[in-house]
């Protein structure tokens, strides 16, 4: 991977890729079961999936398909019932809460659907928050680059309440990028935005994959959002049912319609 070398990993991160293709995160036979007996619900059923470096993956599926659960389990926000998950070379199952917290801090970036920012901190302080938590100083050149990439240069001293919804989500993206994580998980990042701001934000995500060599996994139910990704993974009933490379909105929509039809007939 030629571009992997140009993308410096964070200190203490596992040494580069093994084998031919660098994998940022991997799930093997991942199952997640809620409840017991009659109330037992299988949210994820032996899912195996890989997310490659510097690739933008969208996870799609109808409501209740397990797409958010998959993201939460892979990001160390939720525990798993069986199987294994890895971020880089680190096996999450073996980590306690403290190490998981540190892993999230150092190797994972998050963008949530809403309420990403602390209202008391300025945009800049929000962006550098993970570094502050870790007690590290951000690299000023990298910070500048990230900030200008997401187009926030003039707004750094603003508080979240002085920013629009789109700007707030861009601050969240900048925060995720600044710490140079192994992988960024985005959970419906455009869910609360109007279509123009949403398109803008997706553009920035796309840009950060291409220009900054970032790995991004995005959960969405919007075919247009999914079309920005390099690859779309389709989930239904806790299983991966399909995969699409170089998706277009129409192709994704057609695929989704097929799910719906199947869901209605079955």
């Amino acid at each position: 991977m030629s571009h992997a070398a140009a993308f410096p990993t964070t200190p203490g991160a596992p040494a580069g890729p093994r084998g031919g293709i660098a994998v940022a995160a991997r799930a093997t036979g991942l199952s997640k079961v809620y409840g017991q007996g009659d109330t037992r619900v299988t949210a994820l059923d032996a899912v195996s999936v890989e997310f490659r470096r510097a690739e933008f993956t969208a996870i799609m599926g109808p409501s209740g398909s397990g797409k958010s659960t998959l993201m939460h389990c892979m990001a160390g926000l939720d525990t798993i019932s069986s199987g294994s998950t890895r971020i880089g070379d680190t096996e999450l199952g073996s980590l306690n809460d403290k190490s998981l917290t540190r892993l999230r801090r150092d190797k994972i970036g998050f963008v949530f659907q809403a309420f990403n920012l602390l209202p008391t901190l300025t945009a800049l302080e929000n962006i550098t928050l993970p570094m502050d938590i870790a007690g590290r100083k951000p690299d000023p050149a990298w910070l500048d680059m990230v900030v200008s990439t997401v187009g926030l240069s003039g707004r750094l001293s603003h508080r979240p309440s002085q920013l629009s919804g789109g700007q707030q989500q861009r601050v969240a993206v900048a925060r995720a990028l600044t710490a140079k994580p192994e992988i960024i998980f985005a959970d419906e990042p455009t869910g609360n935005l109007d279509s123009r701001s949403g398109a803008e934000l997706l553009g920035f995500l796309r840009e950060s994959v291409q220009a900054l060599q970032q790995t991004i996994v995005m959960v969405t139910h919007d075919p247009v959002a999914a079309s920005y990704a390099d690859r779309v993974v389709f989930l239904a009933d806790g299983r991966i049912v399909d995969e699409m490379r170089e998706p277009t909105a129409d192709a994704v929509l057609d695929r989704m319609k097929a799910f719906d039809a199947k869901g209605r007939t079955s």
Binding site: D78, D97, T101, R105, D106, F112, F115, N116, L121, N192
Partner: protein, 846 residues
């Protein structure tokens, strides 16, 4: 709308818990106090009425009434007894003699203390028994050498029936044979005193009134009109005697008890009021937060047609319900307080009579009313805020908190109030007497209120400064804590204010008390150069023989008796000290500014202090008009003026001038100077010389200073205890604010955890915010308290020139450390809750 209120109350049970607890504690304090004082009052009354049961009429000499003619008034003696006994309707007359009899315990100290050592006569009725002092063991005293004691006193002396009891009245130690143990309802004894019973003749002799009684207790035959009998007794006896009906005595005593219990009750209620006032802040804070959290709900209610008034009413109904439930529970706790309080007080030396718990309707109703009214009043401002919520807010995303309202108006009001208060207090400092008290009170209240109103403004620089410190040492959690404390200055300020009120009062009291204490210490016999002061443990003083005996002891260079006698000069009461002017210089440092002390001799000469001379316009050579309390006058010459001296006071005379005007010549104290090298061990030698007499008290100057300055600590400790309740409620307020803040910030905390803030750091963030709030309250309180104490101290200067403000920094440091501990403690539960939050649920929470 009432149903909405009830639903809301039930839905927010845990969030209202702290508020309910604050109201509960306040009402428990109120109801506990009221029930306690009702119970104690009725127990006292029962006891009194039992001891007055058989009293129809009481006859006394009529204290202090000057003789009408030239003849001395008749003594209350056997003749009066016979006269009364002969009246129709009189069943019996009990002639009683009362005085002071100090009984020595095993260490030769008085068992009953200075005021409680009662000595009485055994006055047997027709059956040969004295119904007032029923014998428990042994027999009644019948001869001069015999004594009976109450059970507790006998236990303290260690004597058994047939053994020897050592006692004294105001003279030498006497040994009596213990012949009996009696039971008594005597209130002095049940209040911790001792009771000694003698036969009538011995009692009269001991108390210096041979053939004379202190009181005739007349009981009536059944069916006699007691008021009529009283009138007849009055008619039959000389006019100098005083005859009162038993009913009137009972009424007077009952009034006295009421006054006493009322003063305890008022004190406790003042502190209960402070606690409730502190509670107001917590209640107001809680409702403000609940309404902020419920903005969309309320907007929805408004959108579907609820009027503003209905919204206000719904909030107030919720507050009223909360207040009612909390005060009902508080009433239960108050009952417990009323049960435990007498035991607690008794364990600390109070001797409250036993009695059933008396629960009167006013106590119950007022406790409930206070709880409900305070809660509703505190929720009133927040309810207005709720009414201002526009229906359209139901539709807003609600993601962003509303922009904080401007503090400009509040700051202006606060600045004006504080300025008025400070100005008033500064004006107070120009007074040199108590006439400035009104300004001091008003100034303190205004300053306190002003600072509370200004607290949001003041919180910003404080939190910023403190935040710099925490950010430096605790990194990002310190920084986040600072931002959280700054986020809502009103909330931070209201929480801190609750703590501030308690600390202002505690600091103010401490500074004043410690300063006064030091002043008293300075005042306490500064000029004393004697090695010991010998005094009586009773208020009767010492017989002149004590001084003579001391002077004759080996190892004693000088024994100077001081004899106090009151007189009036130009209508103003003064105190003269009669002593031996020639040896006075050996026991006190006395600087004579004019004349010579040697001339203070006989009946025609006095020496006065400089300040007395100035006040009365005297100088050497002028005449001091004196009017003694026996009605006689004298006009001695001022032969010397000396510098003010706190041992001798204002007017120094020779005994010859004052002795003829005393009923009984007694020395107040004898100052003893030891021969060089003999001071050590002299105390024991003096005690031994008087045969371990319980009335002889030997104290060194250090003892005196310690005793005088020790007076303030118990009062201060009581005040700490009572103000502690206000502080506890304030701590509940901090817990409350933090818990509700954690609830409000659920999503933030979830997000912080997701991006890598460890549980430990979440906890630290909450804890630091708590510490900031607590420290802010403490610093404000300590500052205000010191300022108020400084200004108020000026009022004491006139009557207490030694007063100088002393700031007990060590204690203040302890207060601040306690506030720190309070901050850490208050955060324990909210911090744990914050750290335990489930990340995924938190992020998704609305």
């Amino acid at each position: 709308m009432f149903r909405t209120a009830l639903r809301n109350l039930l839905a927010h049970k845990t969030r209202l818990m702290m508020t309910a607890l604050a109201v509960l504690l306040g009402t428990a304090f109120v109801s506990g106090t009221l029930i306690f004082s009702d119970s104690v009052g009725s127990a006292f009354r029962n006891k009194m009425s039992r001891s007055l049961d058989d009293v129809a009429v009481s006859v006394t000499e009529g204290g202090g009434r000057p003789g009408t003619g030239k003849d001395k008034p008749e003594k209350l003696g056997d003749r009066a007894v016979e006269t009364v006994r002969a009246l129709p309707g009189v069943a019996s007359v009990r002639p009683s003699v009362e005085g002071v009899a100090m009984i020595a315990d095993k260490h030769n100290n008085p068992t009953g203390g200075e005021w409680g050592s009662a000595g009485v006569n055994y006055a047997p009725g027709k059956d040969g028994k004295d119904s007032r002092y029923p014998l428990v063991k042994g027999r009644a005293p019948a001869a001069e050498g015999e004594i009976a004691l109450d059970e507790r006193t006998a236990g303290k002396t260690g004597a058994k029936i047939g053994g020897t009891v050592r006692m004294a009245v105001d003279g030498p130690v006497l040994e009596k044979k213990l012949v009996g143990i009696v039971r008594t309802d005597n209130p002095r004894v049940s209040a911790g005193g001792s009771l000694a019973v003698f036969d009538t003749a011995t009692a009269q002799k001991l108390f210096g009134k041979p053939g004379e009684f202190s009181e005739l207790v007349v009981s009536a035959t059944p069916g006699t009109d007691k008021d009529k009998l009283t009138a007849e007794v009055r008619k039959a006896l000389p006019a100098t005697f005083e005859a009162q009906s038993g009913a009137k005595l009972a009424a007077e005593q009952s009034k006295m008890i009421d006054e006493q219990t009322r003063s305890i009750r008022t004190t406790f209620l003042v502190f209960a009021g402070i606690s409730l006032f502190v509670g107001v802040f917590i209640i107001a804070n809680t409702f403000t937060m609940l309404i902020a959290q419920r903005t969309r709900e309320i907007a929805l209610l408004r959108a579907v047609g609820a009027s503003r008034r209905q919204v206000v009413r719904s909030v107030l109904a919720e507050a009223g319900l909360l207040g009612l439930i909390a005060s009902a529970l508080g009433l239960g706790l108050g009952l417990g307080v009323a049960v435990l309080l007498p035991e607690l007080l008794n364990a600390n030396g109070a001797h409250l009579p036993d009695g059933p718990l008396v629960i009167k309707a006013p106590a119950v109703l007022s406790a409930l009313a206070v709880g409900v009214v305070v809660t509703v009043l505190a929720a009133w401002l927040p309810s207005r805020k709720a009414a201002r919520i526009a229906p359209v807010e139901a539709l807003s995303s609600g993601d962003q908190p509303p922009a904080p309202r401007s503090l400009v108006v509040r700051n202006c009001i606060g600045a004006v109030l504080t300025a008025l208060g400070v100005a008033s207090l500064l004006y107070t400092t120009t007074f040199r007497d108590r006439s400035g008290l009104t300004y001091a009170m008003a100034g303190s209240a205004l300053t306190l209120t002003g600072v509370i109103v200004l607290a949001p403004l003041l919180s910003r620089p404080f939190v910023r400064l403190f935040g710099k410190l925490t950010a430096r040492f605790s990194g990002v959690s310190g920084k986040l804590a600072k931002e959280n404390a700054l986020r809502n200055p009103r909330r931070t300020a209201a929480t801190a204010s609750a703590l501030m009120i308690g600390l202002t009062l505690i600091t103010g009291l401490t500074v004043s008390a410690v300063s006064a204490n030091e002043g008293v210490g300075r005042m306490g016999k500064q000029d004393l150069t004697a090695d010991y002061q010998v005094k009586s443990s009773s208020y009767l003083g010492l017989a002149p023989e004590v001084g003579k005996k001391l002077a004759a002891q080996p190892g004693i260079a000088a024994a100077v008796p001081l004899r106090m006698s009151g007189f009036q000069s130009d209508g103003q009461p003064s105190l003269a000290v009669a002593t031996d002017p020639s040896s006075i210089a050996k026991v006190t440092y006395l600087r004579v500014t004019s004349g010579s002390l040697a001339d203070v001799r006989g009946t025609g000469a006095v020496a006065v202090s400089e300040s007395y001379a100035k006040k009365h316009g005297l100088k050497t050579g002028s005449t001091l008009p004196m009017e003694f309390y026996d009605g006689k006058r004298a006009a001695p010459k001022v032969v010397a003026v000396h510098a003010d001296n706190d041992v001798l006071g204002d007017v120094l005379t020779a005994p010859a001038l004052v002795d003829p005007h005393q009923e009984k010549v007694r020395d107040d104290s004898v100052l003893v100077k030891a021969e060089p090298g003999e001071a050590a061990g002299l105390r024991e030698k003096i005690k031994d010389a008087f045969g371990g007499n319980p009335i002889i008290k030997v104290e060194s100057p250090e003892d005196l200073r310690r005793a005088e300055s020790g007076n303030i600590d118990p009062i201060l400790n009581l005040a700490y205890g009572l103000l502690g309740m206000a502080v506890v409620i304030a701590v509940l307020g901090v817990v409350n604010t933090l818990a509700m803040s954690v609830f409000e910030r659920t999503r933030e905390i979830g997000m912080l955890r997701a991006i890598g803030l460890a549980r430990r750091e979440v906890k630290r963030m909450v804890r630091l915010e708590s510490v900031m709030i607590a420290m802010f309250g403490a610093v404000l309180g300590v500052g205000t308290g010191i300022f108020v104490a400084w200004a108020g101290g000026h009022l004491l200067r006139s009557s207490f020139p030694q007063y100088e403000m002393v700031v007990p920094w060590a204690r203040i440091a302890v207060f601040l450390l306690l506030a720190l501990a309070v901050g850490v403690l208050a955060a324990v539960w909210p911090a744990r809750r914050a750290a335990k939050l489930n990340m995924l649920e938190s992020i998704g929470a609305q």
